[in-house]
Subunit: 225 residues, 2 copies
């Protein structure tokens, strides 16, 4: 155990980042939780995250923690909100800068559980009890996700490189938890000039094959309207 201490003239809070990582699996919005190995809330589920290193930027901390705990990297990440109620952590004052992140359904394989970490996907509407104020963080992330669906290309972060328009529509329907009209959806997405046909098609059962599309400007999330 390290016996060195870090001393300051004024009290300092600890600073962590926590990450709400969403994906779509099995036609459901899911998110990633980590089982806590230590008190408080030992054995309970919590968001991935951890303490900020003194020389790393906040977003880097979130990326590092996520990779350490799950092996996942190179994903879309955005700062969500900072949670800092005085008693949110029973140990000491902890300020948590929360991020939310999205990952395509073809990249959700986690690294195997180890002594240090056990991670698992949970359906958003069937979450277990969460440690600390993580429930509140999850709610806020969900709000943001739903809002951004309408005015940004954030939904594309859930998609693999190629996809059918029905699959894309499904993403919108799942997250917004409502059915959309097929013709209107296609008109809407095509009018925005965000996707183009690849010329390929997907045969996927005993029915007409679907055209495969890809995003014209992958990677970046744009504001649309």
């Amino acid at each position: 155990m390290n016996t060195k201490q870090f001393c300051y003239w004024h009290p300092h809070p600890a600073v962590t980042t926590d990450i709400v990582l969403f994906t779509l699996r099995a036609e459901k919005l899911q998110l990633l939780l980590i089982r806590r190995r230590n008190p408080p809330f030992q054995g309970g589920w919590a968001l991935p995250g951890g303490f900020l290193d003194m020389d790393e930027d906040l977003a880097d901390c979130a990326k590092r923690e996520l990779e350490e705990e799950t092996g996942i990297k190179n994903i879309y990440l955005e700062q969500l909100y900072t949670f800092g109620k005085a008693k949110r952590d029973p140990r000491e004052r902890v300020i948590s800068v929360a991020y939310y992140a999205l990952i395509a359904s073809d990249r959700i394989t986690l690294k195997p559980a180890s002594d240090a970490t056990e991670a698992a996907w949970f359906a958003f509407d069937e979450l277990p009890e969460l440690a600390f104020d993580h429930r509140e963080i999850v709610e806020k992330a969900h709000e943001r996700l739903v809002a951004k669906l309408d005015y940004s290309t954030i939904a594309f972060q859930f998609m693999p490189k190629q996809f059918t328009l029905s699959e894309l529509q499904n993403v919108y329907e799942t997250i917004r938890a409502e059915a959309l009209d097929k013709r209107n959806f296609r008109k809407w997405i095509l009018a925005r000039n965000l996707v183009e046909a690849t010329g390929l098609e997907r045969r996927n059962g005993s029915h007409r094959p679907a055209q495969l599309f890809h995003f014209k400007r992958p990677g970046r999330v744009e504001i649309i309207r």
Copy 2:
């Protein structure tokens, strides 16, 4: 000088809040700056703000610092973003949770400057050099303000209790830096059912007097569409 030290097993950053306080004065968007009394950036201008107390919530810290430095309280305050680049403060690692705030033009009187503080209003488009990364914080606050004009009742926070529709239109025009059509603006605001006539009028020069309106649900900022 206090000689007591606060010691931790791991290094901790300092946490501050900074506040971007907007108002409208003289038909211009203005914001409040504080002259720094101490290094670094001694004598330069910076956002009001300061270190978090260990037992106060983040928003309370922002309110307290603002009141200490300006005497202003009871205003609309919203968390903006958390700035935490590793080198943003030359002294030590400092995480700043930035808030932005709006105040009505009839409440902008500051408490007199003291040895401890000198505060002043600056036009948004004529800001001096700012300390730290405060320029970046201001830009982000401005972006948020302009965006929220369209889909929330945030503009009402700039208004006194009673106001004319022309005055309200002026607020929108000033912040968006563009002229709006009077008839369309009135149609838009009235269709949203946010204001109602008080029956009073304002006589204000050698021309037709204007009806005074007030907000139906003052205080809260709502999402509109």
